[in-house]
Symmetry: C2
Subunit: 227 residues, 2 copies
DNA sequence: GAGTACGAAATCGTATACGAACCCTAGGGG
DNA sequence: CCCCTAGGGTTCGTATACGATTTCGTACTC
């Protein structure tokens, strides 16, 4: 008897994944009000597992929850954005540094290939694809990180950014070109067996530069659009 | 009207804090089986809020949870310990570096005073007090960190270590003396307005040294080495 | 005596129900 | 005209109940 339900896991788990997916892929954008009863009905479960799922998402920072008021998809307060990027730069830098000694030639080749695709995207101006490839590139860099805690923190940061992407993943052409060059620099560093500190610093600076570019472009004004 | 009930919070919040406190203070030691119904009865609430509390603690790494089996206080697998310490060294290093420019003379004085108390503890051999003072010292160093995400990660790491303390917070006299000296070094660095990178590295190395001392003493052989 | 099959007890997972807190609108008084 | 208050509706928070799953003890077979 193929009980796929067992593999899929509990309804709480299903709910968690379903809501998370909707947040990350943008179905529920920041500010969206998450009503327990409504989600429960949509998913065909009761409110108890949904509530649990929402609280887990809250712990990951994807959702804000207020007692007796309810949950909303976490927003894009510029300060919060700064904090998220700063945290990500730290944990991703560490993850990349820890991962780099474990990267084989095939990993480096794959990263380089992705980066070349990104360069191509610059020619045809394909920001959507560029963004996805950028994530792929960084994934290759840090996925070998042997410390699962750090890896988890990196993934949370990326999910958080993805949930905000409509407003914050704006394509900054000048920065994109720089970014691709820095990727090559990073790969060369790793290939040459640079020490962990150097790689960590380079990876961190790479992200900080992206943050700076974003701040410079958006000015003090964060893009909060609610059509 | 004073609305203090928000802080006291829901029963879910109460349960969370109660169970967390028992884990951190050692009432529930690693491996302890957390039976929902029993905890619910102890706290005078029903199982629903307790379940939610347990899942939150799971997200923080204090509890392991297995579907249809139950929850236990997270254990002390040496590999896991290495990961936790490594992660803590990274986030605490960053927190200290971000915090240091915001530390005033009074903060430094307080840290120094705590460190002197620690030195005194070395004379009378008071490991329990030494451990608590050590936490106080580091708290002063990173509590000014303006990034709440990083601060939260640091607190989680400390809680996790506290929950394991019976086995892992072993007092290593030689290391303790070194530790106190390093604390003074750190304070001097901060006082002299050293740049963030320097402070971060020093703070991180300080923790790494503690980890190394623990590994050397316990003879645990983790699956990988940190350079 | 060892291994297996079965059954009872314990515990988890979720649905349902109901009370409590909050928000929003309407109406009266200053 | 504005502020304050009252009421209803919506949504959350938790208790209770019951089905589902695992675990463990016991008896039976080889």
């Amino acid at each position: 008897m193929a009980r796929t339900e067992t593999a899929a896991g509990s309804k709480s788990q299903q709910s968690y994944e379903a809501v998370k997916a909707r947040i990350v892929d943008g179905t529920y954008s920041p500010g969206y009000r998450l009503v327990l009863a409504k989600i429960a009905e949509d998913l065909g479960v009761s409110v108890v597992p949904v509530r649990e799922a929402i609280r887990r998402l809250e712990a990951e920072g994807l959702v804000t929850f207020e007692r007796n008021v309810g949950a909303t998809v976490a927003g894009i307060d510029p300060t919060e954005y700064l904090y998220t990027m700063q945290t990500l730069s730290i944990v991703e830098g560490a993850a990349t540094a820890l991962s780099s000694p474990l990267m084989g030639p095939s990993d480096i080749a794959r990263a380089r290939s992705v980066n070349n695709e990104m360069r191509a995207c610059l020619e045809h101006f394909d920001p959507v694809r560029f963004t996805r490839l950028n994530q792929d590139f960084h994934s290759v860099l840090f996925e070998n990180c042997p410390n699962p805690h750090i890896l988890d923190l990196v993934h949370r940061g990326w999910n958080r950014l993805a949930s905000l992407r409509s407003s914050t993943f704006r394509f900054v052409p000048g920065r994109a070109r720089e970014s691709v060059e820095e990727h090559d620099d990073l790969l060369r560093l790793i290939e040459s067996g640079a020490d962990a500190d150097t790689i960590e610093r380079a990876a961190r600076l790479h992200r900080s530069a992206t943050l700076d570019a974003y701040l410079a472009q958006s000015g003090a004004r964060p893009s909060e659009e609610t059509p």
